[in-house]
Symmetry: C2
Subunit: 318 residues, 2 copies
Amino acid sequence: MITVWSPDGVGEVRRGDDLATVLLAAAGTDLSDGDVVCVTSKVVSKAEGRVEVGDRAEAIERETARLVARRGPLTVVVNRLGLTMAAAGVDASNVEPGTIVLLPDDPDASARALRAAVAARTRVNVAVVVTDTAGRPWREGQTDIAIGAAGLKVLDDHAGRSDSYGNVLAVTAPAVADEIAGAAELVAGKLGRRPFTVLRGRPDLVLVAGDDGPGASALLREPGSDLFGLGAREAVLAALAAQPAQRSSYGAPVTAPEIAGLLADLLPQSTIDRSGDEVTVDDDDPRALWAAEVASYAHGFEVAADDGRRVRLRPITP
Amino acid sequence: MITVWSPDGVGEVRRGDDLATVLLAAAGTDLSDGDVVCVTSKVVSKAEGRVEVGDRAEAIERETARLVARRGPLTVVVNRLGLTMAAAGVDASNVEPGTIVLLPDDPDASARALRAAVAARTRVNVAVVVTDTAGRPWREGQTDIAIGAAGLKVLDDHAGRSDSYGNVLAVTAPAVADEIAGAAELVAGKLGRRPFTVLRGRPDLVLVAGDDGPGASALLREPGSDLFGLGAREAVLAALAAQPAQRSSYGAPVTAPEIAGLLADLLPQSTIDRSGDEVTVDDDDPRALWAAEVASYAHGFEVAADDGRRVRLRPITP
């Protein structure tokens, strides 16, 4: 059984406030070893002075590392934390009208600091999760996710374990930190002032005192291994822009040596070989293989084989 | 506060077993009005006879409606239920070795049937969620999501509500059904035989008896409104394949009348206008606008403006 509760009566948090003091005033005697304390990124940002009066669009641009997709007013980007989010995670709710909130500077560090302060003052070993609200592809609505964590096994990796039938579970790794963040949202909601939530019942996920674990950044997929690192439209743009100088030769037959030369220019660190009509690209970095593929597509070649380390390209047959 | 528990001692479920009987034997006297009962899709499939000895690849192909992305052994598709999932949701864990499990034929209907049976036998008004495990873009690991639901407000729509500062919350709609599924996964895990989980503490999300609500299919994003409806590579392929006959004219300057003609061929139901160098496409269906954009990109035009109903296209300036 797990129980999840969110203490009432937390007042407004302001720049410089000590979050551990606020948490312990609200929930102090209720905390036990093995609990997971969730705190909204909003209140962490407020305590850390990440609230400002200013232009939201400009803040989004500052927080953006890379555009992922855009349609009308919606902009999805990878932000400087590596999180893929609408509006880079810059928010304007639950703050004074006219102000905006940036995500914490380093949410894993914020989680570590709160965990350490709780341990120092109460000798209770909790894990801490910093939560935020995010949309997702394919499904309506948002769920809360973990953008910072300390002392928590964020992925409950089952690889190599067996189910009760003896089947080895090859790839299952529940993202328990995100599931915990979602459970906290179910309890705390979005309208009240309940920035803290406590989840009890999975002490096996809480690491020993002193071990903060990998943090929530371990939940970020390697950009190059993500099949959805660009929106559909942006992927097309990226492919067609791969080699603008080639645009004028689209109509001419592009030969295997020409593709090999183009890829050698684009990807100087890949190993590129040609054999007859076909070109192969070897690279440890899946981003390089992806770039090779899209650039080749844009110039009349397609993927004949791709094992994640080597891609074999051949002319597209009309 | 919410509490979530998962009854032990559920035996093997076989084709034709009555799920309500199994549930009530395990958790019967513990159920109260306003509880949400989660049941894994696996056990629903077993009861409904969706387990078979057969070829997994062939089953995946049968369950697939549309390929979304592929890399090496990983295939992400939209399945016949509209769910975007690896391997179409066909699974081979927690069943007899050598057998595979297809998703329930209609998980919303399965949820409705279980809810009705519980109500008929116990007069307790619960909601039912059918859960499954899914990966997601951008983030490592999997979370459990709701693929079927009955009697549950699956989205807790805050549109128009105000936060405690008076800011109107414009777009926030927590996908509570998915958060509930995730909370259930935290309790039930993947290794034991605990197919049922009960969540208590959000009776406000449970609809009155007789009202089953929209089901989990309401969580499926409209394909055309999804910026990630295709993997990056597949988007490029789709764009370049938009008009194969045009391939040989890539090199020639593509004029606005030519683009307008191409789009009129591709999208006979859209309104397509040309003014000077620019072409506009009006269509209520965002898929049509998306198709217009990618096809135009592939032929040297780019988007100057897009408000979700009308897109304005102009020549790409080299």
